[in-house]
Amino acid sequence: MIMWFAGLILLIVKLAVVLGFLLFLAAYLVWVERKFLARLQIRYGPNRAGRYGLLQPIADTVKMLTKEDTIPDGADKGLFCLAPAVVAMTAMLMFAVVPFGPELSVFGRKVPLVITDLNIGLLFVFALSSLGVYGVALGGWASNSKYSLLGGIRGAAQMISYELALGLSLVPIVMLARSFSVVDIVQAQERYPFILVQPVAFVIFMISAMAESKRIPFDLPEAENELVAGFHTEYSGIRFGLFFLGEYVHMQVLGALVAVLFLGGWRGPFLPPPVWLFIKIILVVLFMIWTRGTLPRLRYDQLMTLGWKMLIPLALLNIVVTGAVVLF
């Protein structure tokens, strides 16, 4: 009984730490993104709220909390309110299976530095990321606005196209690690990170992951200059904030997944494991921002061509090749 309670408390502590860290990081990722993007474009970025604009996330949060929350006439109220929560929640839940360190001993008790080590962790991640798109599609539909609806539909179509490539690109990893558990996959990279043996999978995964997170160059669902703001056109205030939060948490999760699946996760010399993980996440995220600062948005047909005609066949080929190598 006591053990059970201790376990519960431990879980809550872990949850609190991870969640707190995620949210804090999400807020500052916004700052990082704006700053970094600004420099890529030879600008300053936010520099009025606090030194280097460091208080900007706080100001933004306050603003979003205090803004009027409007629900358009004719919107489907229930779905309209639910959609942002779906987006934010699925993004955060995905982090549950990401290990941020080796097992620790606390008071003689083994504490895994992961919230839960599911043996099908990878599938869980896929499941959630597919659920995430419901937020987009439903939000678009519930707004009762043509822009939102178009944005939502694009989101759904994009998700279907890239989910496949995403999944297929990881099959070789699973084959190498012989497990769906993310903890095991990190274990399997004890000697070398998988990026070295699976560069093709890495590239496919990177591209698909960016598409999943609906960021430039894959931001068709929001495409400002065509759809006003796409699926979240009608959102304001903190509901809009939740969509925002979802996007940035999603970025971290993807960063974490890339780190865990290809870059050896928390492994690294000298520094404590969570710090390594953090560094790797940040590097991936910075790369995503850099991409955003460099590439223009794809056209819809280009998006589809890339997904169906290049990434998926490539991923299949990769599986065959990896299979062959593993077999022989």
Binding site: Q41, I42, T294
Partner: protein, 178 residues
């Protein structure tokens, strides 16, 4: 294969370019610390100018209010004793103006002109409604020459029939001499 290499090269170039930007000085000018001198034809706060004789140029022809895409100009035309048509009141609602400059383009007398001065914000929106007193300035703006009533052909103190530019003397309707 070749195109693949090319694509990769192009991508790399793009990424390199943006990466190089990281090490350049930002070009941003930090308003309000830095005030840039704007070109004379910048389109901002609107004024009503005077003609070279120092009289109001605007003849209240309603063309600017007609062309204004946001309908923010309103006025009432009236006649002065000497025959000049003028605006008895003239109002621009700057809370609505989009500074498109169409009014200036439509104006047949060079009366209404946009100026580079743009710092007109107010907390009380009603103070953004400018009346004629607020709009009138004591100069000719960008067009120093034009004087509508010197060419218009209508009788004012400035010129009678046949006294405007390029006009013949009025026809004498009571003579049959050629």
């Amino acid at each position: 294969m070749k195109s693949l290499v090319e694509a990769a090269k192009a991508l790399a170039e793009g990424f390199a370019t943006t990466f190089n930007h990281l090490f350049r000085r930002p070009v941003t000018e930090e308003y309000p610390e830095v005030h840039r001198v704007l070109p004379a034809r910048t389109r901002a706060r609107i004024v009503l100018t005077l003609d070279p004789d120092g009289e109001e140029r605007c003849v209240a022809c309603y063309l600017c209010s007609a062309v204004c895409p946001v309908s923010c100009i309103s006025m009432q035309s009236a006649e002065k004793e000497d025959g000049r048509r003028y605006a008895s009141w003239f109002r621009i609602n700057f809370a609505r103006c989009i500074y498109c400059g169409l009014c200036e383009e439509a104006c047949p007398t060079s009366a209404i002109q946009l100026t580079p001065y743009f710092e007109t914000c107010e907390r009380d929106i009603l103070r953004l409604v400018y009346e004629k007193e607020d709009l009138l300035v004591q100069h000719q703006g960008k067009d120093k020459e034009y004087n509508f009533y010197k060419v218009a052909g209508v009788v004012t103190r400035l010129a009678g029939k046949g006294e405007h530019a390029r006009e013949e003397k009025p026809v004498n309707v009571k003579t049959n001499l050629p």
